[in-house]
């Protein structure tokens, strides 16, 4: 997995690419999320459009980010969730936990 990030009006947009399956790779997203929280950047959008698939490790990272941000007064939103990941979110009932949007722009607007 590769990870890039950018900011838009104080909102962090994380853009993972590839597969999130566990191993050292997966900690990159986890560490990056927590680094932003440490920097008091607590509004985060994860753009999942370029993630081929993820397993429960990936879901665990998303939950960790969500709960850590919420516990610190922030929020995590998902954007452009692929069909494969949406299917996993549905069978694990996590679809009820995350706010997800069809585009990054809509996710950004939701913070207003």
């Amino acid at each position: 997995m590769k990870l890039t990030s950018r900011e838009d009006n104080g909102i962090v947009i994380l853009e993972p690419k590839g597969k999130i399956m566990g191993g050292p790779d997966a900690t990159v997203l986890h560490d990056q999320l927590h680094e932003f929280i440490d920097q008091n950047k607590k509004k985060v959008v994860i753009d999942l459009a370029k993630v081929e698939w993820m397993n429960s490790t990936g879901l665990g990272i998303l939950i960790s980010g969500l709960t850590t941000l919420r516990n610190n007064g922030g929020e995590l939103k998902l954007a452009r969730v692929t069909e494969k990941i949406e299917s996993l979110l549905t069978i694990t009932k996590l679809i009820t936990v995350f706010d997800s949007y069809d585009s990054v722009e809509e996710a950004l607007k939701s913070f207003a």
Binding site: K19, M21, G22, G23, P24, D25, E52, W53, M54, N55, S56, T57, L59, G60, I61, I63, S64, L66, T67, K84, L88, I91, T92, K93, L94, T96, V97
Partner: protein, 141 residues
Amino acid sequence: MIDNDSFSDSLTFPSTTDQVAKADEFLETWLRKIGVPEDTIANLAIAVTELVNNAIKHGNKLKKNKMVTVSITYASGNIEITVADEGEGFNPENIPDPLAEENLLKEIGRGIFIVNSLIDDVKFQFPPRGGTKVTIKKNIG
């Protein structure tokens, strides 16, 4: 070994988390060679990486001297994949329900549930000599 419409191969590796990607590459390479549709490849890869993560972390408890083996057999449209570790085994019945309200926000505990959701035929075995062996089967017609 590879034949016209059958083959078997396996990959054995130590219990370090950097091996998960190698196991996935091994699996996906074979699945593409036999023409498995991409969506099915993704489901099998998700399931197998769940099992490999479990084998490394929970089975072999990250002990580098304990090995994990991923085996794949293909014959007449039937794919059989086995993930085996050298750990102490576990009771699949004792895994907490990841859909229960109190578990919904837990970061771990969904692996086996996801495997069972994606794959129709999943078999857990606990050989007398120890370890856990999980076999998943898929027919691609």
